[in-house]
């Protein structure tokens, strides 16, 4: 609530607590009583008209960024995304107090937040991740690439010190081949999701043996169809790519901060 004491901005007294903000939700969203936020503070909402912010109090003399902090941020938002639209804030947003949240964040951008929430209603983000099974993908590359298989012959049973150049050359071929396969397989993932969503974000790979990492915005009601589509790919690539589907998640990939005017 924004009815707390007016903040007395005493500049000489260092502030010890702040309000951590997770995201923006419709005002009819309530935090569960036992919902625990970053720093173990209870999660609550600060309302302004039709919209609200999911917040919890934190102490600012403790650095943020521990694994539990990251997980908590994600859990609060992802849990919410199953029952209501939510605009996630990037990890680490802290405001001075609840008044600041109500006035400077919610009131100042009420219209665009409300419009974005309207657009998200009923939908959530899912992330499709594929990781190559190393042995399988290496075999595939060696079979397809004559030069690679020749180089393998060169280094086979030879000490590393005497075959360094050949190893480097082989490794480079493998690296390039994986990159090409990733492009192709990512394209297939996007194609498989095509009928389920027109909001697709192909993420940059975050692992050298990643086959695909694609975020999509899908109606929660169509999750089963999504599971089926990803399941078919997983079956087709069984033993070659480990496929995972994460979600429903908050729409991290699809909220965009507009530059303030001026």
């Amino acid at each position: 609530m924004s009815t707390s004491n007016q903040s007395t901005d005493a500049p000489d007294e260092p502030r010890t607590s702040g309000v951590y903000v997770y995201g923006i939700v419709p005002a009819d969203v309530e935090a569960e009583e036992d919902a625990v936020g970053v720093c173990d503070g209870p999660v609550s909402t600060v309302k302004h008209g039709d919209i609200a912010a999911l917040v919890s109090e934190i102490s600012v003399d403790r650095p943020l960024g521990k694994p539990e902090d990251l997980r908590t941020h994600a859990h609060v938002l992802d849990g919410t995304s199953r029952v209501a639209p939510v605009l996630p804030l990037r990890f680490g947003a802290v405001m001075t107090d609840e008044d600041a949240v109500a006035e400077e964040l919610l009131a100042a951008h009420a219209e665009e937040f409300a419009a974005a929430l309207e657009e998200l209603e009923g939908r959530a983000q899912y992330v499709v991740k594929g990781r190559y099974v190393e042995e399988a993908i290496l075999r595939e590359i060696i079979e397809e690439n004559e030069q690679a298989s020749k180089l393998l012959g060169t280094i086979r049973d030879q000490p590393e010190e005497t075959t360094r150049d050949a190893r480097m050359a082989l490794g480079e071929i493998v690296g390039n081949a994986i990159e090409a396969k990733r492009d192709e397989d990512t394209r297939k993932v996007v194609e498989a999701l095509d009928s389920l969503s027109d909001s697709v974000n192909v993420r940059e790979p975050t692992h050298e043996e990643e086959a695909a990492q694609v975020a999509v915005l899908v109606e929660v009601a169509r999750q089963e169809e999504l599971e089926k589509a990803v399941g078919e790919l997983a079956e087709q690539w069984d033993g070659r790519v480990d496929m995972r589907l994460l979600g429903p998640l908050a729409a991290y990939d699809f909220v965009v901060t507009q530059k303030p005017e001026g």
Partner: protein, 137 residues
Amino acid sequence: MTAIQPAGGGGGGVSGGPSSSSLADVIDTILDKGLVIDAYVRVSLVGIELLTIDARVVVASVDTYLRFAEAVNRLEIGSGEPKGLTDLVGDVTEGGAKSKTKGALESAGEKLGDILGGGQEEPERERVSRKSTRGDK
């Protein structure tokens, strides 16, 4: 068999119990995506080393290539005779000469996870509920 596990858990998934995002999954998502509050208002980012995010794409080369080569070397390849060394001299020199650094990738997420000592996953649960659907206020 590949498991498809919605992170949401709580049933309704394709076979396999509830699951949740790993720490690496979380890092891939929440550190550089989402609304940025300080574009809107003056806020502080409390003690977060945002620098770590930029480390996501690691320009690897030698190490990655050598690792790939060793992984290939360990493969059991049934058929196909190894070629004699003489066939390969050309390729080898060429390959060695152009061993430039190339955009190999490493998972900063997983690394960060290691550093932070990413522990076990806690079960996901809903943190909020919704009083009503929209439109009845």
